[in-house]
């Protein structure tokens, strides 16, 4: 009797806790609707009830005006906007507990993994049910949210890169801005070395920062290869990727070596008045479009900005396209409101209201507009035409023009069911190469790890 009692004492908590932890739970897949029409109609109609968001900071005027646009258009929806950026742990635990947010803003690079695991819902019926015009979004952005032929996200912002340059240093060193280019790698290496300064073992100025490890996919692209194939399979040890890594590691080695280079870079106040372009501690690097907005405040401190479009080795403009997207988690309790939210937050009308709010702030601050880079082609064109008058600083005007000019040429890393593992694999490989392991060996190991993860995920 006593033995039986003890046995139940062990078994009951195990079963109960396993249940609490979500073992066996698969609510989203149980909610399968019978036909295509039924599915679409379940996403159609007017949004009502309450809904929660996750991953959307939105504290600035652009975010606030868009939230207001949704509330005005949907007065019957009680929205709770949870502050803070996307946190994978927070999201997954909410999902496991059966209480996920209704709509989430996440980086588009995560969507392949999340879609493959069934953490987020395909949005074909949302798009059809709410009549979302998917053609308004930039094709490369749509491609990055499409997995296995289905869209899993509604693209929101766009992030692209050009080389940003400290023109003052360039002039002092007698280097023409056109020499900051990525077509002729030997010439770029010579320019970087010429602009580099050190006092003994202390670096004083980085000539050209290839921005490793983050920009490795961009350098592979410059050399003509995608590190993730159309099917989501990794190609990390492609000879062109190896060549790109060898070259960029060489750039770092020629400018003090990784440990010193990285320490020096870590000391930068990227977001502050003493940012590296203003202080002259870096002369050029590939940087994203949002940074121009940060640098604008440094004009009174003497920043002279210049910008050069990044090209491949044949001279054609290239950029990686990043940004966020709205996704609807599995088990979302108010998918209609969530779908309406994703539609409204990314529509041309809403973006125009956001641009108007930004213009008011800019006028109040006696500053100037540096652009609003959305994933909506139509909105970008209208905002550019209506609000983006010539910036008073020619360097900034050139940089903003450059960013807009690469928007439609930029491509995203292809989505993969093992996107997170592939990312981790190439980042580790780049770190190993920077620490002295031959690039080919580092990428071969990464390819093995990524391939193994891809095969497991694709099963």
């Amino acid at each position: 009797m006593a033995t039986t009692w003890r046995r139940w004492l062990v078994v009951v908590p195990v079963v109960a806790l396993a249940g609490c932890a979500g073992v066996g739970g698969n609510r989203g897949r149980d909610e399968v609707v019978s036909s295509k029409d039924d599915a679409q109609s379940s996403w159609a109609g007017r949004a009502t009830g309450s809904m929660t968001t996750m991953g959307f900071g939105g504290e600035d005027e652009v975010g606030q005006s868009r939230v207001q646009a949704f509330k005005t258009a949907n007065p019957d929806v009680d929205v709770t906007v949870n502050p803070g950026g996307f946190d994978a742990q927070q999201f997954l635990t909410a999902l496991a507990s059966g209480n996920p947010p209704d709509v989430v803003s996440m980086d588009r690079t995560l969507i392949g993994s999340y879609a493959a695991k069934g953490a987020i819902q395909p949005l074909d019926d949302c798009i059809a049910g709410q009549g979302i015009d998917a053609s308004q979004y930039r094709p490369a952005a749509m491609r990055s949210v499409t997995y296995d032929g289905h869209p899993y996200g509604i693209p929101e912002f766009s992030i692209v890169q050009t080389d940003l340059v400290d023109a003052k240093t360039l002039e002092a060193e007698g280097v023409d801005p056109s020499q900051i280019q990525t077509r002729d790698w030997d010439a770029l290496a010579a320019t970087a070395t010429k602009l580099y300064r050190a006092d003994g073992s202390n670096i004083q100025r980085i000539g050209f920062d290839p921005k490793l490890p983050d920009s490795f996919p961009l350098w592979a692209k410059i050399n003509g290869v995608d590190i993730v194939g159309e099917d989501g399979a990794p190609h990390l040890d492609d000879p062109k990727a190896v060549e790109a890594l060898e070259y960029t590691v060489g750039l770092v080695e020629a400018q003090g070596g990784w440990t010193k280079f990285k320490s020096f870079r870590d000391s930068f106040d990227i977001f502050g008045a003493d940012n590296p372009l203003t202080l002259g501690t870096i002369t050029a690097f590939p940087m994203e479009n949002w940074y121009v907005n940060v640098l604008r405040d440094s004009i009174p401190r003497g920043l002279e900005l210049e910008s050069e479009i990044i090209t491949d080795r044949q001279g054609q403009p290239v950029s990686m396209l990043g940004g966020s997207a709205w996704v609807i988690p599995k088990g979302a309790k108010n998918p209609v409101a969530a779908c309406q939210w994703a539609k409204t937050m990314t529509s041309t009308d809403t973006w125009m209201k956001a641009a108007e709010a930004r213009m008011q702030t800019v006028e109040k601050d006696k500053s100037f507009f540096t652009g609003l880079f959305t994933a909506n082609t139509e909105a970008d064109e209208q905002i550019r035409e209506q609000y983006l008058t010539q910036a008073p600083d020619p360097g900034f005007a050139h940089a903003i023009d450059n960013y807009y000019s690469v928007l439609d040429k930029a491509t995203a890393v292809n989505p993969s069911p093992a996107g997170a593992e592939i990312d981790a694999a190439w980042q580790s490989a780049v770190s190993r190469a920077l620490e002295g392991i031959p690039a080919a060996q580092a990428l071969q190991q990464a390819q093995g790890e990524a391939e193994s993860a891809y095969e497991k995920a694709a099963r």
């Binding site: 062990v10 908590p13 806790l17 073992v23 490890p213 983050d214 440990t259 010193k260 620490e435 993860a453």
Partner: protein, 301 residues
């Protein structure tokens, strides 16, 4: 004591202890058992779990990153535990000698424990910067060329140990309490026998506080093997992705990555149980060895 009174007291004792028992079952033992169950599944947090037998444990043995992470963690523990013990004991000895404003100094040394580990990690990234950090600046005054603490693979684990010392105040308080319990009569007797400060420290103070030191070593070892916060902030946070390397990968970070980045909660649970067994074995060995050296008041030895 009558049988009735004894039963009443037993019931009262169970009543008092029951909140802890319930808390322990729900929030410690329960999740542990659940994670043990999950370690035999392919649970991904999102999807239905399927039993996979011992596959996760077999993978642990073959996964090269497990070996890397374990090696890094053990090296870090070997650096941190002796350093934390010596620093905490040294600070406790200093505080023990402070007369006036002792309360202020005790509070001051304990305050860093209250600082969030993430904030401490971010602060030390600036202090330990190899090119412009304060530490290398000070070393430079004495003609010493400091290393790249946070970016050189050789120095990543020592710098992590230095950062962890920031929160050693908890042990300082325990050692200080132990020092205050050392009978003055023992010191006086040793002094009468001609023992100087050093001999009194080794032959009176250390044996009398050996229980507290042993407790400190065991808890520091467990904490070191479970290191996460500072390592994640310094080398894996959103702003620090470029620092992530094979040299900075500690075990708990790899476990976190599997659980919440790669959707492999089943495998992460197996990783957690491997760490549990390692900590258990290390602690048992420490207790076996420690019992030979620790002086327990009132014990038969």
């Amino acid at each position: 004591m009558s049988g009735r009174l004894q039963r009443q007291e037993t019931r009262a004792a169970f009543g008092f202890i029951s909140p802890w028992v319930v808390g322990f079952l729900l929030f410690t033992a329960g999740p542990m058992v659940a994670s043990l169950v999950l370690s035999f599944t392919d649970y991904s947090i999102v999807d239905t779990a399927h039993g996979v037998g011992l596959a996760n444990y077999r993978e642990l043995a073959e996964d090269p990153r497990v070996r890397t992470a374990l090696t890094n963690t053990v090296v870090y523990a070997l650096l941190y535990v002796p350093a934390a013990t010596v620093v905490a004991l040294g600070l406790a000895l200093l505080l023990h000698r402070v007369g006036r404003a002792a309360g202020f100094f005790r509070t001051a040394f304990y305050l860093p424990v209250m600082t969030p580990a993430v904030a401490a990690g971010a602060m030390f990234l600036l202090l330990l910067n190899g090119q412009r950090g304060l530490l290398n600046e000070v070393l430079g005054w004495f003609g010493v060329q400091g290393p790249s603490w946070t970016t050189d693979p050789t120095w990543m684990k020592p710098s992590l140990a230095v950062v962890s010392l920031w929160a050693v105040g908890g042990s300082v308080v325990i050692y200080l309490a132990a020092l205050k319990n050392v009978p003055v009569a023992l010191h006086e007797a040793a002094m009468l026998d001609g023992a100087g400060p050093v001999r009194r420290f080794w032959h009176v103070t250390v044996p009398m506080i050996s229980g507290a030191i042993f407790f400190g070593v065991v808890t520091h070892t467990i904490a070191a093997l479970q290191m996460f916060d500072q390592a994640y902030t310094m080398f894996y946070g959103p702003q620090q992705k470029a620092s992530a390397s094979d040299s900075s990968l500690v075990y708990m970070v790899y476990l976190f990555q599997n659980a919440f980045q790669y959707f492999r909660m089943g495998y992460a649970s197996a990783l957690a149980w491997l760490l549990f067994v390692i900590i258990l074995v290390v602690t048992v060995v420490q207790v076996r060895i420690g019992n030979r050296f620790v002086h327990y008041e009132g014990s038969r030895s």
